[in-house]
Amino acid sequence: MKIYQVGAVRRTVATAVIGTVVLCMAARGMADDGAPIKVGILHSLSGTMAISEVSLRDVDLMAIDEINAKGGVCFTKEGKKTCHKIEPVVVDPASNWDLFAEKAKQLLLQDKVAIVFGCWTSVSRKSVLPVFEGNNGLLFYPVQYEGEECSDAVFYTGAAPNQQAIPAVEYLMSEEGGGVKKFYLLGTDYVYPRTTNKILRAMLKAKGVPEENIREEYTPFHHQDYQQIVQKIKEFSAGGKTAVISTINGDSNVPFYKEFANQGLTASDVAFSVAEDELRGMDTSALVGHLATWNYYESVDTPANKAFAAHFKEYAKKHNLPDAEHRVVDDPMEASYFGVYLWKQAVEKAGTTDVDAVRKALYGMEFAAPSGTVKIDERNHHTWRPVLVGEIKKDGQFKIIHRSKGLVKPEPWSEYTSPDKGCDWVDHKGTYEKNAK
C-alpha cells in the first residue's frame, strides 16, 4: 500500500484523501487474466456459522482440485477443444448477512466469477438472492432448506422439504417406524423450523392426526436451558407412541439431548436434524438409536462413496485442516461436492461459461454422485435425490434403516401448504398457479 505524503495540506483534506484511497484499494479485487475460469466460494470462515461452512469450502476446493488434476474444464469452442483450469476465489462473509450480499456483488461484478458456490443459512441465501438475480449470476446452494422459493439464479442441490422433513415423519408413522401417533415439533425460532413445521402440521392434519396430538415449541438461538421443555415433552409423551421432531439449531442440540437423557425420558423417538459433521464433536451415547433423515450418509455403501469419503480424509490431512484425523463427510458436503461437478458438466455441455447457456444445460442433467445418481430437475432448479432415514450409531455415523424407492422429485412448493403452486422455469417464469391454465 502506498503512503501518501501530505505535508502541510489541511488535515481534513488529507484524511478524506487517504480514506478514499484506502477504501478504493480495499474494494478493488484481483485483476482478470483470462485463461482460467474463476469461480467464487462464499462460505463463512469466521463467526458463528464457520463451524458448519468451513467444511463446505474444503469440499468445494477438493472438487476443484480433482477437476484441475484431470485437466480442468474442457469444451469445444469454435471447433477447437480447450481446457481451462478452475481458479477458486475464496472470500469470507464472516457469518454477517450483509457481508454475504457485499461479497456476492464483489464476486460477480469485480472478480467476474462464472459461478458461485456458497451459503448455508436461509438468511444468507435470501441476502444474496437479489444480487444474483439482478446481475444474472448463478449460485449453487448445497443445504436442505425450507422451500417456498423458486429462483432461476439458484440451483438447489440440498433437499426441498418434501425430500427431508416429510419422509421422516411418514416413516415414523409407518408400522416399521413404530406407528407414532403424537408429534412434538421442537425447533429454534427462525424461518427454517417455522416453515418446516408449518408444512408438517398441514401434512399431519391431512393424515388425520388430531390437533391435540401435535405440539409446537420454539426456543431462542443458543438456548441452553431445556429443563421445562423436557418436562413438557415428558407429559406430552405419556402413554408412548410419541416422536419429537427436532429442528433445533446447532449448539442447542447438546443441552437438549443431555437434559432429555438425564430426566429419564425414554418413551419417545427423536428425529434430529444433525449430520455426521455435527455429531463428530458430540458425545453420542445418549443419541444412539434416534433418527435423522438426509439424502446422503457417509455410511452409504458404494465404492464411489467410500472413495469420496476416503479422498476427503486424505485431503483434510494433506491440507492440515483442524482435527483432520476425524473429519467426516455429510449431506451438505456431498451436495456441495456434486454441485461443482454438475456445473463442470454443464459448462462442458454448453461449451461456454455463459450463465444462460449453463443454466439451460443444467436442466435435467445427471451426475453419478457418491450417493448414487442425482439429477437436476428439468424445470424447477432443485435436485432429485434419494431420501434415507438413518439411525444414529455410537460412532457418530448413521445406520441407514429406510430408503426411498429411487430418487424423490423435489417440490419447492409443498403439496400440503401450497397445493396450487408450482415452480417451472421452462414453461412459466418461475412460480405459477397450477390451476390457472
Binding site: 429443563q227 421445562q228 429419564g264 455435527e278
Partner: protein, 556 residues
C-alpha cells in the same frame, strides 16, 4: 481412526452396565441352533429366532442379542475351519493389519487360543449379520424382558416402562413375576404401574376396574391417554371410576409441573450464580468490565474437554468417571492463568477506566474465540461421567438429574469458598483493603500489584470452574461464553455491584422468575425477553441494584 474418540466412552459405559464376568458354560444345543439361525437375510426368520432365544430364558444370549442389535454379530469363516457366530467389537493391530478381537456369540467372552492369546480375525473373514428395524424392535422387547431380572434396579425400571409402552400383553406374566421378586421399592412401583397399564387391555371389566383404581393410586401419567381411550368404549360402571381417576392424576401432574419448575428455577439460578461469581469479583470488586469473562469460561470448558481426552488415552477405563473431578481444579488453574496473563498484559494499565476495560477485553474475547475455533475447530461436548448421568426420581414423574443436583451443590461450595476467602481470610482482607484504598494499602506494605493480579486470577479461575460445570449440561464450543455474558452482567448489576449476597440473591431471583415466566407465557423466548424487561425496569427503580452500597462518599 476416529473410533478412539468416539467408541471409548460408550465402551466404558457398557462396562458399568453389563455384568463383567459371565459363566463359561457349554451352550445348550437348542440355543446354539437358534443363534446360528440368526445368520439369514430373512427378517421373519430372524424374528422367530430372536423370540425363541427369549423363550429360552438363558441370560447368556443377552450379549448375542445386544450385538445383533448394534450389528456387531458376525459369521466368522476362518481360512481353515468351520463357520461360527462371533461378536466383534474391538479392534487390534496384528502385523500392521487391523483385526477384530473376537468374542463368543454365546456369553460374549473373548475367544482365546489354546496358549491363552486372544483370537482375532481380519475384516475379510467376517460377515456381518444385518437386521432391519423390526427385528431390532423385537430384540428390544426380548432384552427388556431379560432386563426385568437385571441386577441393576434402574435397568429393571426402564425395562418395565418400555414393556408397558410397547403394549405387549404377553409381557404381563413376566411383569407379575418380576414384581413379586423385586426388592427395590421404587422399581416395584414402576413394574406395578407397567403391569396395570397392560392389564387395562385385559378382557374382563373386573380386571380393568382393579387396574384403573391401582393406576389412580400410583398417579400414573402414562395411564391418562389410555384411560381417555378406554372411556370412549367403556361400560357405565367403568366410566364412573375412570373420570375421578383421571382428575386425580391430572391434579398430581399439575403439582409435578410446579415442583419441577421450582427445581429448575433453582438449578438455573445456581448456574447463574456460578457464572456470575467470578464476575462479581472482577467487576464488582475490582471495577473491571471483563467482556472476556465468557471466554474464560470457555477456557475452563476446553480444559475439561482436554482432561477428558487425556483420561481416555492414558487412564484405565474404570477410572474414566473421575476425569471430571480432575477437570474442576484444572479448569480453575487454566482460566486463572489466562486471567493472570490478561491482568498483567492489559488490564493493569486500565484501572479506573472501566469503559476502556470493556473495549479492550472485548477485543481479547474476539481473539480467544477465533483462536479456539482454529485449534479445536468444532462444536464438541464431553461425555458426562456415569455417576452424573441420569437422575433421582423424587416422586413419580419428577426426576431430578444428577448433573443439575451436582451443579447446585458445587455452586453452594463455591459461594461458601469465596465468602470465606474474601471475608474471613487474611488474603481476603488484603484484597478488600486494596480495592477500597489502593494508596493507603500500598503505604502499609501490601504489594498492590500482586493483589490485583491474584484477585483477577481468582475471578477468572471461578469463571473457569463455571465453564467446567457447564459442560455437564451443554456444549464445549468456541463462543460458549457469548451465550452467558449478558446474563452474567445483568445478574451482577441487579444484585448490586460489589455485593456477594446481592449476586446470589439476584441470580436465584432471576432464575426463578425466568422459569416462572416461561411457565406462564409458555414460550422460552418470551420468558427470556420479559426477564430483561423486568431487570431494566427494576434498575430504574433501584439504580444500584438489590443491595446498594451506601454512605456519604458513595456517588453512583
Amino acid at each position: 481412526m476416529r473410533s478412539s474418540r468416539q467408541l471409548s466412552p460408550l465402551a466404558v459405559f457398557l462396562l458399568f452396565v453389563t455384568p463383567a464376568v459371565r459363566a463359561q458354560t457349554a451352550p445348550p444345543p437348542a440355543v446354539v441352533q437358534q443363534i446360528d439361525a440368526l445368520a439369514t437375510d430373512d427378517g421373519t426368520a430372524q424374528r422367530a429366532a430372536v423370540a425363541a432365544l427369549g423363550e429360552s430364558g438363558d441370560r447368556n444370549v443377552i450379549p448375542t442379542l445386544e450385538a445383533l442389535r448394534e450389528e456387531s454379530l458376525y459369521v466368522w469363516t476362518p481360512p481353515n475351519g468351520t463357520r461360527r457366530m462371533v461378536i466383534a467389537r474391538d479392534k487390534t493391530t496384528v502385523d500392521d493389519h487391523e483385526q477384530y478381537l473376537l468374542q463368543d456369540a454365546y456369553g460374549g467372552a473373548r475367544l482365546h487360543q489354546a496358549d491363552g492369546s486372544e483370537i482375532s480375525a481380519p475384516a475379510e473373514e467376517l460377515q456381518e449379520v444385518s437386521v432391519d428395524r423390526r427385528v431390532r424392535t423385537a430384540i428390544q422387547v426380548v432384552l427388556e424382558r431379560f432386563k426385568l431380572l437385571d441386577s441393576d434396579p434402574v435397568v429393571r425400571r426402564a425395562a418395565a416402562k418400555n414393556l408397558a409402552d410397547k403394549g405387549d400383553i404377553i409381557a404381563l406374566e413376566a411383569l407379575a413375576k418380576a414384581q413379586a421378586a423385586e426388592p427395590d421399592p421404587a422399581a416395584r412401583t414402576v413394574i406395578d404401574e407397567a403391569y396395570n397399564l397392560l392389564k387395562l387391555s385385559a378382557p374382563s371389566d373386573q380386571d380393568k376396574l382393579a387396574a384403573i383404581s391401582r393406576l389412580g393410586v400410583l398417579r400414573s401419567a402414562d395411564a391418562v391417554p389410555r384411560l381417555e381411550e378406554l372411556r370412549k368404549t367403556a361400560s357405565p360402571q367403568l366410566q364412573a371410576v375412570i373420570l375421578p381417576t383421571l382428575d386425580h392424576i391430572r391434579w398430581w401432574q399439575k403439582v409435578n409441573r410446579l415442583l419441577y419448575a421450582v427445581f429448575s428455577g433453582l438449578s438455573l439460578g445456581s448456574i447463574l450464580v456460578l457464572m456470575s461469581l467470578g464476575l462479581a469479583i472482577t467487576f464488582g470488586v475490582m471495577g473491571v468490565i471483563n467482556m472476556a469473562h465468557g471466554e474464560l469460561m470457555m477456557i475452563g470448558a476446553y480444559a475439561t474437554f482436554i482432561t477428558q481426552n487425556w483420561f481416555l488415552a492414558h487412564v484405565p477405563a474404570q477410572a474414566f468417571g473421575f476425569y471430571f473431578l480432575a477437570a474442576i481444579p484444572l479448569s480453575f488453574v487454566a482460566a486463572g492463568a489466562a486471567g493472570y496473563v490478561l491482568e498483567r498484559g492489559v488490564i493493569r494499565f486500565l484501572y479506573g477506566r472501566p469503559l476502556e476495560t470493556l473495549l479492550a477485553t472485548w477485543g481479547v474475547s474476539l481473539i480467544l474465540i477465533q483462536a479456539a475455533r482454529f485449534w479445536f475447530g468444532d462444536l464438541t461436548a464431553v461425555a458426562a461421567p456415569s455417576w452424573l448421568s441420569g437422575g433421582i426420581e423424587v416422586i413419580a414423574g419428577v426426576q431430578l438429574p444428577y448433573n443439575r443436583l451436582f451443579i447446585i451443590a458445587f455452586t453452594m461450595l463455591c459461594v461458601a469458598g469465596v465468602y470465606l476467602l474474601l471475608l474471613r481470610s487474611s488474603a481476603g482482607l488484603r484484597i478488600r483493603a486494596v480495592m477500597q484504598n489502593r494508596a493507603m494499602s500500598a503505604s502499609m506494605g501490601i504489594a498492590t500489584n500482586r493483589v490485583d493480579a491474584f484477585t483477577f486470577a481468582l475471578g477468572s479461575g471461578l469463571a473457569g470452574m463455571a465453564g467446567c460445570a457447564l459442560t455437564l449440561i451443554g456444549n464445549v464450543e468456541p463462543d460458549l461464553g457469548q451465550n452467558y455474558i449478558v446474563d452474567a452482567f445483568i445478574v451482577v448489576v441487579t444484585g448490586g455491584v460489589g455485593k456477594l449476597v446481592g449476586t446470589v440473591a439476584a441470580a436465584l431471583g432471576i432464575g426463578w422468575l425466568n422459569t416462572f415466566l416461561e411457565l406462564v407465557t409458555d414460550s422460552a423466548v418470551m420468558g427470556k425477553v420479559l426477564i430483561l424487561v423486568f431487570v431494566i425496569l427494576f434498575l430504574q427503580r433501584r439504580p444500584s441494584g438489590l443491595f446498594p452500597p451506601t454512605g456519604r462518599a458513595v456517588e453512583y
